[in-house]
Amino acid sequence: MKVLVTVKEVGVADDDFEIEGTDIAASDLEYDLNEWDDYAVEAGVQLAEAGIADEVVAVTIGPERAEETIRMALAKGADRAVRVWDDAFEGSFADVASKVDVFEAIVDEEEPDLVLSGVQAADTAFGATGVALAERIGFDHAAVVNDLDLDAEAGVANVHRELEGGIEELTEVDLPAVLTVQTGLNEPRYASLRGIRQAQRKEIAATDLADLGLSPADVESALTLTEMYEPESESDAELIEGDAGEAAGRLAEVLREKGVDA
C-alpha cells in the first residue's frame, strides 16, 4: 500500500514580533515542520516499518525554502517528496479549495491507498484540507484521529476520533481513506544522523501548476487577508512584581487568602 502524507512548513512567531502589512515579519518567524504533520509522517513511517506500507510519499505546497523542512520528513523515514509551488501562490491567502486542487492532482498521479494529513496547520489553523480532499477524490475519511490500527487485509482503518471532553469515538473507515492526524497519535521520532544523511540523497520533486495540468485561475483563492493585528489584551490580572523570591512571597500570601495551605 502507498501512503501519501501532506506536510506543511509553518511559521512560528517569536515571543516578540512585528506585524508588517498582513503578516508577521519574516525575521520574527521561525520555520518548522507543522507539529500535526510530524505525527502524520511518523504514522506513515510506522506503517512502512510494520510492512503495511510499501512507500511513504510526502507532499507539500511551499516555496523553495520549505525544502529544508520537507527534508526533515525524509530524514524521519519518508521515501521521497513532492514540492509544489507556483508564482500564483506568492502573496495569496490560499483557501481550502485551492489546496485541494493541488493535492487532488498529486493523488491522481501517486494513487495512494491512504492519505495522512495533520489535523491543522499551526499558522493558519483551518483544519479542513484533509476532509475536503477526501470529498474531492472520493475517499472516505475520519477527522481528528488519535489512535490508528490499520487492517490492510480487511481494507479498513480502525481509528479513535478525539472528541471534546475526554470522549473518543471508535470508528471503522473503509480504505482508501484520508485521516487527519491529531497530536498524541504516536511519538514522533527525532531524525537520526543516519536518517539526515540518507535524506540528502532522497528525491524532492519540484513541481508547478502547469506540470500538474492546473492553471493559476484554478487555485485563485476566495479569501483575502485584509488585516492582521495583535488582539487587545483583556488582562485585568494583578501582576506580581519583584524578583523570584519577592514575587513568590506575595503569591504565597494571595494563595493563603484563598484558603490554600497544605
Partner: protein, 316 residues
C-alpha cells in the same frame, strides 16, 4: 436566497452548548442579510432537540431523523439536501471535532468558500468579512470572503447562547443517505484512573514551559507543598509525561477549582476552554504576551524555574 442555515450539534443525547450559540450568530447574520434563520437538527431524538432549539429568532427547524449519533455521511447528505431546498446564503456549523468532520466536505461538494474557526463576522455592501486568529492565537486577522454564498464554522464560546422560547415551525425532512464508509462502533471515555482532576479544589497545572520530563519534579513538589492536585496542558500528555486523565482543556477535562495555578502554560484557546471557570487563576510564564494572562487574576511574568522553588519554600 439571503437565508442562513445553522447546523446544530448533539452528542449522546445532549444538545451541545455551541448549538444555542450558533442560533445567536445565525440570527445576527440573517438580519444583516435580510433573510430567515433555518436550523437543521440531524440524527438522534430530533423532536426533543428541535424543542430545545426553538428559540426566538429561529424561523424554521428542519428535523432529519436518520440514525442515532453523528455520522459524517448522514450529516453531509442532510445539509446537502437542505441547501438544495432552502438555497441559503450562509451555512453555519460548529467548529468542533464533528463539525470539521463534515463541513469541509459539504463546502467542497457545494463549491462554497469555507472559513473555519470564525470568531465573528461583519456583512455589508462589500460582502462578508470574518475575524479569525492565526499563529496560535498570537494575532487576529480580518478575512474578506468572495462569493455570493459561503460556509463558516464558528468557534464555541464567542456568541451568547440564544434564550427563551420561540415559535418556529418544525418540519421533518426525509433524506436518503448513502451507505457510509465510516462506521461508528462506539465511544470510550478516557481519563478515568486514579485521580479525577475535576474534583480538586486546587490544581497546579503544568505546560510546555517545563521543557523536560525530569523537570516535572518541580511542579510535583509544588503540588505536594500546596496540598494540590497536578494537572497539565495538552503537550505534556502528548509527550507521555503525564496520563491523559490529567489533561485540562477542550479534549481533556473541564475543571472549575477554587484555585488554578498555570505553570509554563501559554493559554491556547483549547486549554482555556477547560479552565476559565476556575474561581481564581494564577499564571506563571516568561512571556508577558501569553494569552494565559488575559484570563488570569494574578500573574508572575518570570521564569518558573526561579519562581516555583521559592513558592515551594514559602509553604514548607
Amino acid at each position: 436566497m439571503s437565508d442562513v442555515l445553522v447546523v446544530s450539534e448533539h452528542r449522546r443525547g445532549e444538545l451541545r452548548d455551541v448549538s444555542l450559540e450558533l442560533l445567536t450568530a445565525g440570527r445576527e447574520l440573517a438580519d444583516a442579510l435580510g433573510g430567515d434563520l433555518h436550523v437543521a437538527v440531524v440524527a438522534g431524538d430530533v423532536e426533543r432537540f428541535a424543542d430545545d432549539l426553538n428559540r426566538p429568532g429561529v424561523d424554521r427547524i428542519h428535523a432529519v431523523a436518520n440514525g442515532e449519533e453523528f455520522d459524517h455521511t448522514v450529516y453531509a447528505a442532510a445539509v446537502d439536501a437542505l441547501v438544495e431546498t432552502i438555497d441559503p446564503t450562509a451555512v453555519l456549523a460548529p467548529n468542533s471535532v464533528n463539525g470539521l468532520d463534515y463541513a469541509p466536505a459539504v463546502a467542497e461538494r457545494l463549491d462554497l468558500p469555507l472559513v473555519t474557526d470564525v470568531l465573528g463576522f461583519e456583512y455589508d455592501d462589500d460582502g462578508l468579512t470574518v475575524t479569525r486568529e492565526m499563529y496560535g492565537s498570537k494575532v487576529e486577522t480580518s478575512v474578506a470572503v468572495e462569493g455570493d454564498r459561503f460556509c463558516l464554522t464558528m468557534r464555541g464560546g464567542e456568541f451568547a447562547p440564544a434564550e427563551g422560547v420561540g415559535d418556529a415551525e418544525v418540519e421533518s425532512v426525509d433524506v436518503e443517505t448513502p451507505e457510509s464508509g465510516a462506521r461508528v462502533k462506539g465511544f470510550e471515555e478516557v481519563g478515568g484512573g486514579d485521580v479525577d482532576i475535576a474534583d480538586a479544589d486546587v490544581l497546579v497545572s503544568v505546560g510546555r514551559g517545563i521543557g523536560e520530563e525530569e523537570n516535572l519534579e518541580l511542579v510535583e513538589d509544588l503540588a505536594d507543598a500546596l496540598g494540590a492536585t497536578l494537572s497539565s496542558s495538552r503537550p505534556i500528555v502528548d509527550n507521555g509525561w503525564l496520563p491523559k486523565n490529567r489533561q485540562v482543556g477542550q479534549s481533556g477535562k473541564v475543571v472549575t477549582p477554587d484555585v488554578y495555578i498555570a505553570v509554563g502554560i501559554s493559554g491556547a484557546v483549547q486549554h482555556v476552554a477547560g479552565m476559565k471557570g476556575s474561581d481564581t487563576i494564577v499564571a506563571i510564564n516568561t512571556d508577558p504576551n501569553a494569552p494565559i494572562f488575559d484570563i488570569a487574576d494574578y500573574g508572575i511574568v518570570g521564569d518558573l524555574f526561579d519562581v516555583v522553588p521559592e513558592l515551594v519554600a514559602e509553604f514548607e
